[in-house]
Every structure is written in structure tokens, then in C-alpha cells.
């Protein structure tokens, strides 16, 4: 086997074909930029989406080897309370509904499950814990936060979304510019939709920006954010994203 390394082997990411990328994604091998590329492709390329599903279907029987296990009874209670709200079901509100449901889910989950301690500390002025049994009646939707630790450093990027004003705050304190690269922030919608740029970060600053409705509708707890290293000016339109240097996921505060 080891002598076959010349027989057309895709050992670089550029050399592999799309069906192979779909297989890698289905198997769960991808992370970082590969994952961004795959998710982006799924939204824009029906053949690719079909192939991903093809692999999913073929791999699914393997799951029969996994021993079944019984979850605790609270899981169903939480699901039931999350779906309890009656609401209209029409095509127009699907996107909105998905977002609302996510909110309901988050408020039904215990604080321990919903928030990472680190994220709570970001928002210490507000209440730091929510009793699981207390229904959360939010007059204004709660902010979403994501912490992105920068690999190999003690520094992290804090990203906060304020739904009331559709504003995004990106705190890049402790980061410094190298004058050769820019770093671009990306949103991976929780529903598997297209990857969206949240813009280039400004090292050493807290930056505030207003987001378009196209982006805010994908901002919900569970949506992932990635920071990639790009040429100055951000990712060129025709290039793949650069290496991922930090990642995190939004959760409700």
C-alpha cells in the first residue's frame, strides 16, 4: 500500500473532487475552512447537496452498531415546552419561526446548558443565571455572544450581537495587526445555510457595525463564527477562505 502514493492520490485539498468533499463532510472529517467550503457549496450547488445526502444515506446503516441508550426524562419535557407555543405555519414565516423556536429552546434549557461560564462573565452586569423552571419572558430578545479563543494564545475575540438594534460588537482587544494579513469573521448559520462574512476585524479595538437583515436572520444561538486569516482587504471574491485561526458559537445570554 505504501508504495502507491503516486497513483493519483488526492492528498491536497485542491486536488480532490466534490463528491469526495461531500464524503468527507458526511463522515465528519472536516473542520475549519474545509467545513466552510462544504457548507457554502451545499447551499449553492444542488449536485453537491445531493451527493452529501447520498453519502449520509450510505453511512447511516453503520449507526446500527452503536448501542442504544436511554436519555433522561427531562429531555422530552424540554422539547415539549420548546414546541408548545402555537404559531402560524406558513412558508413566509419559516425563517422567522426557526429563529423563534431557537429562542424558545434556549429559554427552556437550564442556564448551565445554555451558557458557558466564560460567556456569562462577558455580560456580568445582567443577571448571571436563570432558574430553569422560570419562564423567560423577554421583552427585548437577549443578546447573543460568542467567544473565539485564538489558538495558541491566551487572547480571545468576543463577538456580541444585540438583536434590538441589529448591531454587532467585535472586541479584538489584545490582538495586533501584522500588516501583512487581515482577519475576517464568518457566520455559519445554524440551519446549514450559506456562510456569510461579518467583516474584517480591527485588532486592538472594539468595533461596532450594523448588520443587514440577510445576516441577522441567521443569527441565533448555535450559529457558529469563524475567524480566518486573509490577505489585506479580506478574502478575495474568487479565492477560498484562508486558514481558520479561531472559532466559536453564539449562545444566548
Amino acid at each position: 500500500m505504501s508504495g502507491e502514493l503516486d497513483d493519483n492520490l488526492p492528498d491536497t485539498d485542491e486536488a480532490r473532487d466534490d463528491p469526495l468533499l461531500a464524503a468527507e463532510w458526511s463522515l465528519g472529517l472536516l473542520e475549519g475552512e474545509g467545513l466552510i467550503a462544504a457548507r457554502g457549496k451545499q447551499a449553492s450547488d444542488p449536485d453537491f447537496a445531493w451527493r452529501k445526502e447520498w453519502w449520509d444515506n450510505w453511512f447511516a446503516p453503520l449507526a446500527d452498531e452503536i448501542p442504544p441508550a436511554e436519555p433522561s426524562a427531562q429531555v422530552w419535557e424540554r422539547i415539549a415546552s420548546a414546541i408548545a407555543q402555537p404559531e402560524p405555519r406558513s412558508a413566509e414565516v419559516v425563517a422567522l419561526k426557526a429563529r423563534l423556536k431557537t429562542w424558545q429552546m434556549v429559554s427552556a434549557v437550564t442556564s448551565a446548558a445554555a451558557a458557558i461560564a466564560v460567556m456569562i462573565s462577558v455580560f456580568s452586569p445582567t443577571t448571571t443565571s436563570v432558574a430553569p423552571s422560570e419562564p423567560v419572558v423577554a421583552a427585548a430578545p437577549a443578546p447573543l455572544v460568542a467567544a473565539l479563543p485564538i489558538e495558541g494564545t491566551a487572547v480571545r475575540l468576543d463577538v456580541t450581537f444585540i438583536p434590538e438594534s441589529d448591531q454587532l460588537l467585535v472586541a479584538a482587544i489584545g490582538l495586533s495587526a501584522d500588516n501583512v494579513h487581515d482577519h475576517e469573521l464568518w457566520l455559519l448559520p445554524a440551519d446549514g445555510g450559506d456562510v456569510q462574512s461579518l467583516g474584517i476585524i480591527t485588532p486592538g479595538k472594539v468595533q461596532r457595525s450594523s448588520l443587514s437583515a440577510q445576516i441577522t436572520r441567521n443569527l441565533a444561538a448555535g450559529a457558529q463564527v469563524l475567524l480566518t486569516r486573509e490577505p489585506l482587504g479580506g478574502k478575495p471574491a474568487d479565492a477560498s477562505p484562508g486558514p481558520v485561526v479561531a472559532k466559536g458559537a453564539f449562545s444566548s445570554v
Binding site: 492528498d11 491536497t12 465528519g28 453511512f59 446500527d64 452503536i66 448501542p67 433522561s72
Partner: protein, 176 residues
């Protein structure tokens, strides 16, 4: 599933009761932590409730679709870095209640089951081991390479070569 798309809540409850032990087993295996696995499981059914219309009965059996869906969600969760991950030791898996709901009846399409095993079994053993570790433990290329003590590019070559052969074998079986 069709009733679900129409917004029938009792349909979701029935599906939950019929499938929870299987899907929880999958989440637990990937995440290696009961709490995380329960959160992932909850996420799966709530998502299912919201997006049952995405399920296409012509394409896959409901349980195969659900199993893949649960596994994908668990891996998403693993990749957000909230959990350390790793396969769950067998002893940690919760004992099953006696009325073990339908675990046997949930066997996914027997024919496809046999075929994927045949095609996987045709790969060399090393490749099989790595592909299985990716499937069952949610390992990335980097983690597999690390584990095996080989360069990342080598691991990618091994697995991609295996996946190409697997695809050829599965496609051949579809044409048969």
C-alpha cells in the same frame, strides 16, 4: 413524518418515543458526555419539528435520515469546541429500560446495511479503521493523523483513497 410537517405535535412525541434510544446512543457515542448528548438530542427533535418539511420520503428511510441528522448535529456540537469529545466508554452508556422501545425494529434497511459493510470490508484494514474512527468517534483528519502518528497529508491520502474505492463499490451496487 408527513404529519409532522403539518404541525402535529403528537406525531413528534410518537417519533421521539420510537427513536430516542437510538438517536441518543448516537449522540452519546460521538460526544462522550451525557449532558452534552442530551442537549444535542433535544436540538435534534426541535430541529426536526421546525424542518420536517425537509425530509423527502423518496430519498431515504426516516430512521436513516434521522440517524444521519442526529450524528451531524452531534458532530456540529463537537466542532464548536464546547466539549472535549471522544468516544464514550461502554460502561457509561445508560442501561436501557426494559420496554426498550423498538431498538430492534429500527434496523436500517438491511440490504443497504449489508452493502456498506461489504464495501467497507473490501478496503484495507488500516483504512477501514480510520474511516470507522471518523464515523463512530467524530474524529477529524488532524486527530486521526495525530493518533496514527503520520503527517496530515498521509492520513488524507489514505482516507481519500478509501473513500474513492468505497464510492466506486457503492455505485456499482446501485447499478446492479
Amino acid at each position: 413524518m408527513l404529519r409532522l410537517a403539518d404541525g402535529d405535535k403528537t406525531a413528534l412525541e410518537e417519533i421521539y418515543h420510537a427513536t430516542r434510544v437510538k438517536l441518543f446512543g448516537i449522540c452519546l457515542r460521538i460526544l462522550g458526555d451525557r449532558k452534552e448528548a442530551e442537549d444535542a438530542l433535544q436540538d435534534v427533535y426541535i430541529n426536526l419539528w421546525q424542518r420536517a418539511d425537509r425530509y423527502d420520503p423518496a430519498r431515504a428511510s426516516p430512521i436513516a435520515w434521522l440517524a444521519a441528522f442526529a450524528r451531524n448535529r452531534a458532530i456540529d456540537r463537537l466542532r464548536t469546541g464546547k466539549v472535549r469529545g471522544g468516544a464514550v466508554p461502554v460502561e457509561e452508556a445508560a442501561p436501557l429500560a426494559d420496554e426498550a422501545p423498538l431498538a430492534e425494529a429500527l434496523l436500517i434497511d438491511l440490504e443497504r446495511n449489508a452493502q456498506i459493510h461489504t464495501c467497507l470490508g473490501a478496503l484495507d484494514e488500516r483504512t477501514q479503521i480510520h474511516i470507522r474512527a471518523a464515523f463512530f468517534e467524530g474524529k477529524t483528519y488532524a486527530q486521526l493523523a495525530d493518533q496514527a502518528g503520520v503527517p496530515l497529508g498521509t492520513m488524507k491520502s489514505w482516507i481519500r483513497r478509501g473513500l474513492l474505492r468505497l464510492r466506486a463499490c457503492l455505485e456499482a451496487s446501485e447499478r446492479a
